[in-house]
């Protein structure tokens, strides 16, 4: 602080301004002061029988590859990186424990956009050494490229694409490692109306597959309580018109159906305009990047997410932090779980796409986050939705919606 203050003093002198003593009066306003105290549900404990990528250490296999495909440095990159680090951790642990079975993780950058993904996925599908994929985190890109996986019989486990229609395309290779937005939408509606006690809710959607699908689901679940609808565009930064419209409708809660990249400036501009409605975002918004981008406005935000809090997965969290230097984020444990399933398959001697696909199809086992067993459409039988809130500038778990 001393040094920063000194440089500021010099700077001030340079521009000829005065009032140096006032420096000390500066005070970073603290966030999270005005959230109503709510009971925080206990995070689920780590299941003792959760699948471990290390296995028994005796696995034998020819060198083979699995791939991560998704955003790494593109749009909403933080969401993709969370998953990638989770997958990477599972592979590293597996390879360390099993000298006789080395699996290579190939990383493919889709930039998170549906126009870029088909080309990249074609590339993956035409690389014969890759026998399984964790990825396509976003719904739009999954929709655009899903048929390529299907054509090539390459199993695709998505850790975060939640659009419900994805499982209805007849793709035999699509498996979703979490609940879809037909679960999240009603759950979010329930949370907003019952826990936040809002009767007038504004649903703001972006123009992505994910945002529009989820907005439809929550609007339907809210019924008459969805009193206004707004649309924003991918990469929009100036929301003056939307903010003015929302302000004139004076809702009690705003549900933003989209990703953090647009949600952060929107939340900030709403807050600036004096809109004090509760801001609720889904899994696409639940990231530290939102908290950083929205500034003070984030303190009043809530999130819904079909992801399980990782607080109690201490072994996982420690290893994750050691490997990536960060705390696990949204969908990190899901990415880890799904990669583990692929690795189990490889350890069990599945060495081509068809047999690994069969392995996943009939898989029945516990993971860190939940029990994995898919139906014929690639949806899980039992899923949960959690809510999160911001405390002290960090996203912490709130309650489980039941």
């Amino acid at each position: 602080m001393q040094k920063a203050r000194l440089s500021r003093v010099i700077v001030l002198a340079a521009v000829g301004a005065v009032a140096l003593g006032a420096c000390s009066a500066r005070n970073e306003s603290d966030s999270g002061g005005d959230t109503p105290p709510q009971s925080q549900a206990a995070a689920p404990a780590q299941a003792s029988n959760a699948a471990n990528p290390a296995g028994d250490g005796k696995a034998q296999c020819a060198p083979t590859s699995i791939a991560y495909a998704g955003t790494i440095n593109g749009n909403n990159a933080a969401l993709g990186q969370n998953i990638l680090y989770g997958v990477d951790l599972a592979v590293t642990q597996h390879n360390k424990a099993n000298p006789g079975c080395q699996v290579k993780l190939e990383k493919f950058e889709t930039e998170g956009t549906p126009d870029k993904a088909p080309g990249i996925v074609t590339q993956i599908a035409n690389t014969n050494s890759i026998i399984g994929v964790v990825g396509l985190p976003f719904s739009g890109e999954s929709k655009a490229a899903g048929n390529i996986f299907n054509d090539k019989g390459l199993v695709q486990l998505t850790p975060s694409a939640t659009n419900p229609t994805l499982s209805q395309n007849g793709w035999k290779t699509f498996f979703r490692g979490l609940g879809n937005d037909n679960t999240q939408g009603p759950a979010a509606a329930q949370f907003i109306t019952q826990e936040l006690k809002a009767d007038k809710v504004c649903v703001v959607r972006d123009d992505s597959e994910y945002g529009t699908g989820l907005a439809d689901a929550i609007t339907k679940a809210l019924g008459e309580k969805a009193t206004c609808q707004q649309t924003v565009k991918t990469k929009q930064i100036d929301f003056a018109a939307v903010v003015n419209d929302i302000k004139s409708k004076s809702p009690q809660a705003i549900f933003y159906s989209g990703y953090y990249q647009e949600a952060a400036p929107l939340a900030q501009q709403l807050s600036d305009a004096g809109v004090d409605a509760k801001f609720v975002g889904p899994d696409g918004v639940k990231d530290d990047e939102f908290v950083k981008g929205a500034g003070d406005a984030a303190a009043k935000a809530y999130f819904t997410c079909p992801c399980v809090p990782a607080d109690q997965f201490t072994d996982f969290s420690t290893a994750y932090k050691a490997a990536s230097g960060k705390d696990p984020g949204t969908y990190s444990p899901e990415g880890y779980d799904l990669a583990t399933i692929l690795l189990k398959g490889i350890d069990a001697g599945k060495k081509d796409r068809a047999s690994l696909l069969d392995f996943v199809k009939t898989y029945d086992g516990q993971g860190l986050t939940k029990h994995f067993k898919w139906d014929d459409k690639g949806e899980l039988a039992k899923t949960t939705v959690w809510t999160y809130k911001v405390e002290g500038g960090k996203i912490v778990r709130n309650t489980e919606i039941k």
Partner: protein, 377 residues
Amino acid sequence: MTEGTKTAVGKRRPLGEWWNNLSRVQQWGVLIPLVALVYLLPVLNPPILSTEPGYDFPIAMFEVARYALVAIGLNVVVGQAGLLDLGYIGFFAIGAYVAALFTSPDSSLSKLPFLVVLPIAMVVTMIFGVILGTPTLRLRGDYLAIVTLGFGEIVRLLADNIDPLRGNRGFQEVGHPPGTNADGSSLFNNTNGIPWYWLCVTIIILILFLVGNLERSRVGRAWVAIRDDEDAAEIMGVPTFKFKIWAFAGGAAIGGLSGALYAGQLGFVNNQKFDVVTSMLFLAAVILGGSGNKVGVLVGAIVVAYVPLRFLVIADYKYLIFGLALIILMIFRPGGLLGARQRLLTYGRQAYQRLLGKGEQISSDGAMVTDEPERSH
């Protein structure tokens, strides 16, 4: 004319002269094996040329062919008629959306076979070309450039804003030409670039014939006249406006066609890829190769599309590299790698033969080298 240009022209002259001295039959004798080789490229997948393992080679070849088609279309507008069009991506986008609207299950329109949609895409973009061209083609030079830029943006924004065009969500399962493989899967799919490449190359050859003949016709001569001095052309009785519209609409149609092919191969269309940056990349292909020269723009397109795919390390830097290339090129070689040639058009061959006893001479005067007349208001 600079020193650098002179020597480069000097080096190029023997090849060009050799080619022009050949008779038509001999030229065919060279061309046919060359074309056959072009067709076979993705099958041969030659080791040094191959973009694998970084990028699937047949698909890379389709990309190159698609850029070549775009470059030929844009060259009609920029190179031959001398109209700087910065919004060419708008026509490309319209073509892609027409293909998507008539073939994708996400659209509420009646479905049509893909091969029927291709001409529709051309006609629709042509109509847009006329709609845009009629009011704006009275403008000159840089004003025209900015209006076309505005048009390109309007098209993109409409794709953003109009709900049936599905914004970022886009259209999936865009149609493809008929035909099946032995195992019953469709011949044209988005993982196999070879059929798409062949289709695209065939179209390019047809368009090259068409444009080549057009170039040597009254229309082509009118374009050159307009490019070199619009006022003089007007005074000499060339209905400049009419011919400019023709160039604009013709170029637009080719842009629409390549947009439709792009949509078909990718199987997906949304609003994210039709930005001005891509439009500039198209323009870079034309300018790099040498606007006004068909072979030149093909070379330009190959450079712009192929190099970043072959050397994936530079893929991130491609816009930077092509931006620098444009600056450097304008300083040292404003005519492009292979500049447009000033030559007799209609009876060129016979005339040169009679006068010189050999094929045409190359003088490297093109749109970029001749001084544009001052705009008058």
